[in-house]
Symmetry: C2
DNA sequence: ACTGAGGCTGTTATAATATAACAGCTTGTA
DNA sequence: TACAAGCTGTTATATTATAACAGCCTCAGT
């Protein structure tokens, strides 16, 4: 772990839901992301960096074509592979996750941790809260049938505080 | 619970992976499915029943267009809405699940139980094992931020016993 | 500075997945 | 019989994603 001028907020409290210092949040994640990528020998190029920023700035999960629209408005390419490639890169480096349920993407809120992502997805506004999974899910069942788990994801759908009826 | 001439296998042991009496498996689930649907006042029409059977017969998750191909070969409609509507119906009645990760569908292996589905998905052959989730996942985190969970799903990807290298 | 290798960006084209909207048929009921 | 509800089938289109190739940028070795 590198020295951190200001301690970043508890990883698990980083979500797009509820009150938080968004700018600080973004800066913190970007710092960690940059460090992780450089350490791995890969390059956080302008498109890739911008896609990560767009995801970080968003309070909801974004579809690929939504991200693409913003990229092309800023002078980057406007064809699907541009955004899908950047997303693939970010996902390979664990800086972004795909919310399968929405066919949409979010920035990872704690890139430094090797974790099993778990999401709470608002079906109304698509806000997404990421926490890490509380337990080695399914490990017992997997062992029982000889299945070898490589990645796990938990997706819960419901209503975020804002979208709940009074 | 209704009287059962032969006790069906333990619900959690019903998967498309590993050895089991497939015909018995299918018959058992179909019986439970039919009962649940009749009880709810809905109708298990020929297309719907056939889609459920196709899913039950399969040892892997099936894409909608794959199911549609089989339907149309048997004289049912050959347009996407035909299969998507049947799948929607089955999912509403908890007789089928969508594996978001694969954009594919599987029959529910324990339709009688109100459960949080958890899947182990082979990335090689797409076999899917369903077990019920071991715990009220995320409940603590959800309560903490005021998120109201409606449905949860766990998807683990990896290699099934058959597809693992020796 | 030159050059080749690898990797990144941008493009064309197309594939795969999914839904909206409407017409006509079937089924149960009065 | 005749109506209402709901199911099936259709046309058309939207949305999400990938294959394949061309050109450019970057860096290491010279």
């Amino acid at each position: 772990m590198s020295a951190d001028p200001k301690p970043s907020p508890r990883a698990s409290s980083r979500t797009t839901m509820g009150p938080h210092d968004h700018a600080e949040c973004i800066a913190g994640v970007l710092r960690e992301a940059e460090a992780a990528i450089v350490a791995s020998g890969a390059r956080l190029t302008p498109v890739r960096r911008r896609v990560l920023e767009i995801l970080l700035e968003s309070h909801t999960a974004l579809g690929a074509y939504e991200i693409l629209k913003r990229l092309s408005a800023e002078g980057f390419g406007d064809k699907p592979p541009v955004v899908y490639r950047a997303l693939d890169f970010l996902r390979e480096h664990r800086l972004a996750h795909k919310i399968e349920r929405l066919n949409a993407f979010v920035a990872c809120m704690h890139p430094a941790a090797d974790h099993v992502p778990a999401f709470m997805i608002c079906r109304d506004c698509r806000a997404v809260a990421e926490t890490t999974s509380p337990a080695p899910l399914l490990a017992g069942d997997a062992a029982e049938i000889g299945f070898k788990i490589e990645t796990t994801m938990v997706e819960a759908e419901g209503l975020c505080p804002k979208c709940q009826p009074k």
